[in-house]
Amino acid sequence: MSEIPLSHVLILASILFTIGFVGIIARKNTLFILMSLEVMLNAVGVAFIGAGSAWQQADGQVMFVLVLTLAAAEVAVGLALLIQMQRRFKSLDIDLLSKLKG
């Protein structure tokens, strides 16, 4: 099994991250924004795993487990908020949540 160079892993991570970020900016639907957020988190996870294997350190995988739990918690909160939002606004359009306008 040939070694995958670190740079390839990082390029993949960057591409995933950018896809996620563009998703956040471009989508109006809050559910899709949450999903894009997951993509971004996983991009970070890929970068951690790649770095961990490149330097033969367990820290990378430890961080990934941490990110995973965090993502699970975040999804739980985020979905609960989504349900509330659907109830209150009858819509998931993120632009409706602009009460903090200056």
Binding site: K28, L100, K101
Partner: protein, 639 residues
Amino acid sequence: MTHSITEMLLASLPFYPLISFLLLIAFGKRLSWHIASTLSVGAMALSTISSFIVINQLSSQSPVLTVHLWNWFELSLTESSSAQINMSFYLDGLSAVMISVVTGIGLLIHMFAAAYMKDDENFTRFMAYMNLFIVAMLILVLADNLVLLYLGWEGVGLCSFLLIGFWYKERANVLAARKAFIVTRVGDTAMAIGLFMLFKELGQLNINDLSESASTLWIVGDEPPYWIALLLLGGAVGKSAQLPLQTWLPDAMAGPTPVSALIHAATMVTAGVYLIARMNGIFLLAPEVMNYVAWLGASTLLLAGVAALAQNDIKRVLAYSTMSQIGYMMLSLGAGAFSAGVFHLMTHAFFKALLFLTAGAIILALHHQQNLFKMGGLLKRLPFETALFAIGLVCLMALPGSSGFFSKEAIIAQLWSSNTAGPLLWYCAIFGALLTSIYSCRLFFLAFLGERRFDHELQPSSSKLLKLSLIALAVLSIIGGIFANTLDISLLVVFPSNSPSNLNEPHWLHSVAIATPFVGIIFSWFYFSDYRNSNHGNSNNVVFQDKPSALVMFCRQGLGFDQLYDVLLVKPYCYLARLNRRDFFDQLIMLNAWYVDICHDVFKSSQTGKIRWYAAAIGLATALLLLNLGIEYLSLEAS
């Protein structure tokens, strides 16, 4: 008694009323009349007793007593020289006279006030202010430096303001309080400038050192003492209601009567006299200013005498008579007869407090009727008050034997041959004495003789406290003359001895001075005969209709000074203030606000509340940062 105990007593003098003031203010209406009056009067009694003990310790061996409490602050003139301003009390003959008057008369008036104001809903506030006034007045007269004196000076001004406007629910009272405050402030500003000049010239403000260094540094007629004395005179004129700044005193009668007695007759208004007497070292170096003082005093006493002739309010008559008596004191100071002026200050405090308090008792009995034309016939109905008032008036007219006689004759006797006064001022003083006796008789006839002209039944107060204080004041007024010798001895060290050169005086001076009040009495006996005759069954008597002619109205309003100042100062000032409502400098400052407002608008527009925009902004910023880092990295590689 040991020295340290005396010092402690002296140091604690102003603190008894201060503690009482703090307690009264802190607990306010929760205190009952008994507790509040015991507290305030008790504090005054303690002050009085300790002041008399301390004064007794003064002797010819140790004519002064100083006590240092703490260092207040340091004033530096240049880098190297600075003057320590201390919280120190200084007691000599002059301040001994003043503290005995302030605490003694103050105690009696506090007793009277406790009875007089018993039913007022703000009784504790009243007594608290009265106590605070005593504190400030004691600091004023005991101060060993001019900064501390100025503290007391402003303190009494504040208390005067608070007490004139005590019944603040009536507009007239508030206006009177404001007027008193502003008018005296004019004088105070002059005095403050005088103090600055003094400090600039001499580098210190300690009263004793000042007199010493002034007499070594300057000779008579120098420029600096002239201006300093003139500016100090400005302060004295404001506080003592003398000629250019006298308009506040008659209006100040809006306050409760004990206030008029304590502040606007016996103590505060004499602070100007005290200031000049205290700074005699400076004033003696400026004979021209002494001359101005004499002329100011003389013109005030004549003006006030004329104005008093036309008043219809009993308290305003007394206010104008206060003004004219302070005019006598000023005249005396200007003539260099310092101890006579201070003596008149003391006797005046006795009999004017008596007059005011008796007037207060009468006003109370008449259901707050102050109009002389609505009185009449009180002799039979209020014999006790009548007798006391008559005693006060006898002293005011300076009939032989009364305390006023000794002090006023002492003043008049020194005028003729004084360097800074002269025969002309002597004639003014005599004419003033004539006026005094005429308006006193008019007041007496109107209020006490003649027929009854009031509608309500009389309601004389039966309070023992009230009567006790009145009787004590009456006794002091009668026997006040006996203090003349002790006073002269104790003041000997304070003032330079002026050698009287009575050689070229005409021999008839004294007899004329003594006879003048009697001439006034005889004149008014016939001239005001309508007032004293009771015309029964003729109720719509023309004499008492009080429809004043234009001249009488002019005199009643204080000879038009109020209108003059209104036209000259108040109206133009208000006009300018209206004109300059959009002040230029205000607009400059508002530029700041305008700038901040613009920034606010700009930044506000970035807060859209749209979360995707925020995310995009963060992304853009991160991208820019990364780009920047990349360029830097590449340029490092290249080099």
